[in-house]
């Protein structure tokens, strides 16, 4: 089973955990104590958890976030979401083949009165925004209940092994997301004002101004004066042939499996989407020792930060811009992906199809705010604020800052003696959420002596740790102190701090002091599962990943002193010294094409729109062509949106199908959303004494 667990990681500590035994379809298997069932199954190489009652399609992990029910298994006789249920000693886990059987229950449970709790503020979500807001409230003595559906605070920060962008003073730039998460969480846990409810899901805001919360298996009613929606975002899904195969899932689910649960869910990964989420997922995969076969992006350039894209390219991952996915191929699980080039109108160009073997396809085509709860609360006449991705999709650095603003706004609502929010905060918030700006071609200064940083950062992004960390103040921001491009001017002492802190790994050091004709370059490196030792030849590459020749390593630091970023040194000819940015680690052979696509899925018309209820794009199209524009009528006829996820996944896809049929946005009638956001057992609502697990 160890084959599918991470054995080492450049950033994440691999702790020794005790083994327990569980049974999968009567086969005894090992799991790690405390992990969820889905991860225990993945660790044993089991990726198919059952088959759908409607069409027999393979079911498995999809959101890894408790939002859908694709990962349902039967645990000790009861159907549960495997991504949210801890595996325990001797647990009997069975696959769900068709409709599950409801277990017999002979005893009538005892009930307790559902507790009703009044609070000043109810914060939904303990990620960067919710935590930052909570810290403001705690600071000013405002009491709040913070609910989060995971077992640890931090939201998506707990998955972010990379160093953060943004500004050092406002959003801890240069620190790794996981470390920022821990720091914020600690501050909140220490405060008396914030009552933290872990494993708790906000189910609905009712018209009587009460919020239904599932608190660790018990149903509670919270009556808040103010609600802060910091519930984050969910990933958009994509419509393509074979999108229903096992092994197609979101980048968030992937990061959960790898970075939280330390599972190696795939050997060969392909990524759809060149935004920051997709690019970072690719980098995380490499850090975990997973081969990244390629990344496809429909636009002519990646939408994410150039430094993220460059990192992947340099390490050897091909990025196919102006390409789209045609199909995921395979019978039950993904065995390959077929992509093709598109023209400027996104039409597929003939004879450009390419097929690559891979076992997993990540979808990273954008996020949308989780707003349902806030919308319901507003309809009920409750006062609602929003922060982070729930307010607006942006980087976590932005979420932390606008969380801070929202927190203070709420404090102002509760307390009259708090001053206005400084205008400068709003300006900074605007900068931190900026999209990447223009790309400039930069030529390093014509100096060939001494030591100096070479800054391979060519795109304006909100980021400034290099200028903050330099002990001689020699790195200056051109224009805006956060958004501007950094420029070296002054006296470099060769300390390498800028090299180690740059989140984009886009600064190198060139040292001419020992040998002006064969200077030493210092390169940042944090893919520790590919060890690099003194004397090893490494394939040097320029910013775009083009080879500059092979050179031997002359120095390696452990990374202990530099926040787990290793510094690699090599002596190279001065002509290429300033062009070297990194070195290739992934062999070109990883991204080999195959001639013909694999056998196609056994399920006909697999361009699935509603994964829960198995509704295809073809079925939707037929109804649209009959003149139907009301998503409620489409739901009534096809059940699209009626499944366990509550149209969280298909809503966008449905609208896309309508739009592709020429229906304007104004004509489309929205689906009515109803409580509850996630499925909850009856006995929990009924108030079973002692809670679900009693």
């Amino acid at each position: 089973m160890e084959k599918y667990r991470l054995k080492q990681h450049p950033v994440l500590p691999i702790e020794v955990r005790s083994d327990i035994t569980f049974y999968w379809n009567s086969q005894p298997l090992k799991a790690k104590a405390g992990e969820v069932i889905s991860s225990a199954l993945f660790a044993n190489g089991i990726k198919i958890f059952g088959h759908h009652p409607k069409d027999g399609s393979a079911q498995g992990i999809f959101c890894a976030n408790g939002q859908c029910a694709k990962c349902t298994v039967i645990a000790n006789g009861v159907p549960v979401k495997s991504c949210m249920t801890e595996v325990c000693e001797n647990m009997i886990v069975q696959s769900v083949e068709g409709l599950p059987e409801l277990p017999e229950v002979t005893e009538t449970p005892n009930f307790e009165t559902i507790e009703e709790i009044a609070t000043d503020v109810l914060i939904i979500g303990g990620g960067p925004a919710g935590l930052s807001a909570a810290i403001q409230m705690a600071k000013h003595g405002v009491k709040a209940i913070l609910v989060d559906d995971k077992s640890a605070l931090g939201g998506k920060l707990v998955l972010q092994t990379h160093k953060f962008f943004g500004s050092v003073e406002d959003s801890h730039a240069g620190m790794r997301g996981i470390d920022i998460g821990k720091m914020l969480a600690q501050k909140v846990m220490q405060s008396k004002e914030i009552d933290v409810w872990m494993n708790s899901t906000a189910l609905y805001a009712f018209i009587d101004k009460k919020a239904g919360i599932l608190k660790d298996g018990r149903y509670k009613i919270v009556v808040p004066k103010i609600i802060l929606n910091a519930a984050g975002a969910r990933e958009k899904f994509l419509r393509f042939k074979g999108n229903t195969l096992a092994g197609v899932y979101g980048a968030g689910a992937f990061q959960t499996l790898v970075n939280r649960d330390l599972i190696k869910p795939t050997e060969r990964l392909f990524i759809i989407g060149g935004g920051n989420v997709g690019l970072i997922a690719g980098y995380h995969a490499l850090q975990a020792g997973i081969e990244v076969v390629g990344l496809v992006e429909a636009m002519p350039t990646c939408g994410g930060y150039k430094v993220h894209a460059d990192k992947l390219k340099r390490l050897g991952v091909p990025i196919f811009t102006s390409h789209t996915v045609l199909a995921a191929n395979g019978e039950e699980s993904v065995s390959s992906i077929t992509i093709a080039q598109v023209d400027e109108k996104f039409n597929v160009i003939e004879n450009t199809e390419k097929t690559y073997p891979c076992d997993t396809i990540l979808i990273a085509v954008g996020l949308e705010s989780v707003k349902e709860f806030a919308v319901e609360a507003q309809m009920a006449g409750m006062k609602v604020f929003a922060a982070g991705d729930a307010l607006e999709i942006a980087e976590a650095s932005s979420a932390m800052f606008n969380g801070k603003i929202a927190g203070l706004k709420i404090v102002k609502e509760m307390k009259s003696d708090v001053g206005d929010i400084p205008e400068s905060w709003y300006k900074k918030a605007a900068i931190l959420k900026s999209h990447p700006g223009k790309i400039e071609d930069r030529i390093p200064a014509d100096i060939w002596e001494g030591v100096m940083p070479i800054i391979h950062c060519k795109q304006e992004i909100p980021c400034n740790p290099c200028s903050t960390v330099c002990p001689t103040g020699s790195i200056k921001m051109i224009g805006d102190p956060i958004m501007g491009l950094p420029r070296y001017e002054g006296k470099c002492i060769g300390c390498g701090k800028c090299v180690a802190i740059c989140p984009g790994l886009a600064i190198t050091l060139v040292d001419f002091r020992k040998d002006a004709s064969v200077p030493t370059v210092t390169l940042p490196y944090e893919v520790g599962n590919m060890p690099v030792a003194i004397g090893d030849p490494i394939q040097m590459v320029d910013i775009d990943g083009n080879s500059l020749g092979s050179f031997a390593v002359t120095g390696v630091t452990s990374g202990n002193a530099t926040n787990r970023t290793q510094l690699i040194k090599a002596a190279v000819p001065k002509e290429i010294a300033k062009k070297i940015v990194s070195f290739r680690i992934q062999d070109a052979e990883v991204s080999h094409q195959i001639e013909k696509s694999e056998p196609e899925s056994a399920i006909a018309d697999t361009e699935m729109v509603c994964l829960c209820e198995r509704v295809t794009a073809g079925e939707i199209r037929a109804l649209v062509r009959k003149g139907i524009r009301d998503l409620n009528q489409i739901k009534a006829i096809t059940r699209a949106g009626m499944g366990p996820c509550g149209s969280k996944t298909c809503d966008n896809l449905l609208k896309q199908v309508l739009r592709s049929e020429g229906v304007s946005v104004e004509e489309i009638v929205e689906n009515t959303r109803r409580p509850v956001f996630v499925e909850v057992p009856m006995e929990t609502f009924a108030g079973k004494k002692g809670g679900r697990n009693a």
């Binding site: 229950v105 057992p681 108030g687």
Partner: protein, 384 residues
């Protein structure tokens, strides 16, 4: 140019749509107007799907029997899956009073030829395995009653009516109904105006407002009921289970497992919640699930997927108001369904078509007796 139709129906719901189907099948030109965006978007989609003929009133029984014919043969005749199941209804009795009432009622129901019988607690346990036996005295069981998907049915009837030539205009609310003496001449909407032979009020929640436009005071007042649906499971019980008892905050509640395997449930709040608001309160889920789990402990682990609120357009005596009126020559009521629009709809649609075309059956007048607009509304149905 104003277009004129043989019949204009106000409301594309569980009554309006099958009525349009029945009229269009008889080659009449039909226009259905609805303020919402598509068929069945008012209360039709809120119905949980139970269909029974085991009422206590001749008219309701006859109309529902015809409805059951239509539902049960639909797929065979027309090919569309509408989720019909002949899973029966059951009213378990946990008090002596309820047992007596149900048994008395059964005599009447059987005299009308309905297939309903009394079964022992042990027999009932076989139909609903795991139901609480504590104090259970037995249950009625009417195996020919059943259920269907209100969503699929309404759409099946809708597309069939279009095939027969009916026209629909959605997102059009009625602004004015013009009359000339005792005839309706024109229906004016937010988007146009239409002439008509007959006008049928099938406006559900808004029947009273439509009535007012033609000078009729219809005693139809909606009250709210809340419902929910669970995840699907392998079939584990058969009939609709109706618990007639009251508990603080509620009167009866009922649930069944639909043909998708999902348990659909509904409760009647006490006191009634008047009005047409559809937002859920925090009270429903704990109240309803507690009663359900206590009655049927096996439901403990069943996950609730979604809940919603809908209305019963109620009349004072619990009977619909159906048929022509003295005040107007070309107006027909099909209102006040009291929560039974779905099960009455198809049979009722045909009856209305017979009224419009003057082809009433011999017993139609007897059917319509209890639904007369001019009746004394102070009576109560023996059994709702």
């Amino acid at each position: 140019m104003r277009k004129t139709y043989d019949v204009i129906i106000i409301g594309a719901g569980s009554v309006g749509v099958p009525t349009a189907m029945a009229l269009a099948e008889k080659k009449l030109s039909v226009l259905v107007l609805d303020a919402l965006a598509s068929p069945g978007q008012g209360n039709a989609k809120k119905a949980i799907g139970g269909i029974r003929a085991t009422h206590s009133d001749y008219g309701k029984i006859k109309i529902s029997q015809r409805s059951i014919d239509i539902f049960s043969t639909w797929e065979k005749l027309h090919g569309d899956e509408i989720g019909w199941m002949s899973n029966g209804y059951s009213y378990p009795a946990y008090t002596e009073k309820d047992e007596k009432m149900l048994k008395d009622l059964m005599k009447i129901q059987r005299s009308f030829g309905l297939n309903i019988s009394w079964i022992s607690p042990e027999e009932y346990q076989k139909l609903v395995p795991g139901i609480s036996m504590e104090g259970l005295r037995g249950s009625t069981f009417s195996p020919e009653d059943g259920s269907a998907s209100p969503l699929l049915s309404n759409n099946a009837f809708y597309f069939k009516s279009i095939e027969y030539g009916a026209e629909y205009r959605f997102n059009e609310s009625v602004a004015e109904i013009k009359t000339d003496g005792n005839r309706i001449t024109e229906v004016v909407t937010s988007k146009g105006s239409y002439g008509c032979g007959y006008m049928i009020n099938a406006a559900g929640n808004f029947a009273k407002e439509i009535g007012k436009m033609v000078g009729l005071d219809l005693p139809v007042n909606p009250d709210s009921h809340e419902a929910g649906i669970t995840e699907p499971m392998k079939r584990f019980f058969e009939p609709m289970v109706v618990d007639m008892r009251s508990a603080p905050g509620s009167k009866n509640f009922y649930f069944y497992q639909n043909n998708e395997g999902q348990v659909v449930f509904c409760i009647t709040p006490e006191p009634p919640i008047l009005g047409v608001h559809n937002e859920s309160t925090s009270v429903f889920l704990p109240m309803c699930t507690k009663r359900m789990v206590a009655l049927y402990p096996r439901l403990c682990n069943l996950k609730v997927r979604r809940t919603w609120r809908g209305q019963y357009p109620m009349t004072p005596d619990g009977f619909p108001i159906i048929g022509a009126v003295k005040e107007l020559d070309n107006y027909i009521n099909a209102v006040g369904m009291c929560g039974q629009g779905f099960m009455l709809g198809p049979g009722l649609g045909e009856l209305i078509a017979r009224i419009v075309t003057d082809t009433k059956h011999a017993d139609d007048d007897r059917i319509l007796e209890s639904f007369d607009f001019y009746r004394d509304f102070s009576g109560q149905e023996l059994f709702k």
